[in-house]
Subunit: 108 residues, 2 copies
DNA sequence: AAAAATACTTTGCTATCCGATGTATATTGT
DNA sequence: ACAATATACATCGGATAGCAAAGTATTTTT
């Protein structure tokens, strides 16, 4: 039953949703990339590759929507924490409104 | 307020939704491309370019999800009507389920 | 007769996902 | 002790698909 098509569609759908998922999680708490990959899996049941997420975080930071900050660990590899900026918050709000209005129409 | 970013995001978001919009409309009645562009505008308030929709219809037909059929008109240019196949219907059902689950999570 | 609307197609540009590969450190198993 | 795995970040190339623009052709409107 067109499993390939559906899988590809999921990937396309993610393209639009991923930034929103990132914002939603970062609204609750700041995270580092590796952590986000796991959180997205738990919260949204979606497997995001590192080659997808890291460049996305860099893009969002470049846009001023996320604020990155390196943090040395008492033990282990340093982590690059991201928190959502005030501009990121307003973007998220507008995303939620738009996505909500569209997705509602689907269920009508 | 990052209008560019939001607009680009809208486009990315649509990428995932567009096939679903097409299926939803074709579930009610068969349509030709030019008509679909207008219906999508009315139903979902989204402007789809011809360069977006026509290749999409060809792809969906190639996947066996839509059935195309040329129809000569008593007057005017011939139209290529598309109707949703049974396989297309089951794909749409799985899309709706997935999109619905995502919408729920956004609103939590 | 010119312009606009209808109707489909193709081309080039761009964004972004994703698997693979690379770098480096820390922890766990045997 | 040492190999394997986990943690953590980054980059590259191939593939997908939206979108503006340009192309073809017919019909309707001005």
């Amino acid at each position: 039953m067109k499993v390939e098509f559906i899988e590809n569609w999921h990937s396309q759908f993610r393209k639009g949703l991923l930034p929103m998922f990132v914002f939603i999680i970062l609204e609750k708490k700041k995270c580092y990339g590796y952590e986000l990959i796991q959180d997205i899996k738990v919260e949204f049941d979606i497997d995001v590759g590192e080659g997808t997420l890291y460049p996305l975080l860099v893009r969002l930071a470049k846009e001023g929507l996320l604020s990155p900050q390196w943090e040395e660990q008492p033990s282990g590899i340093p982590r690059k924490y991201y928190s959502i900026s005030s501009e990121g918050k307003s973007v998220l709000a507008s995303m939620k409104t738009y996505a909500g209005s569209i997705l509602k129409k689907i269920n009508e």
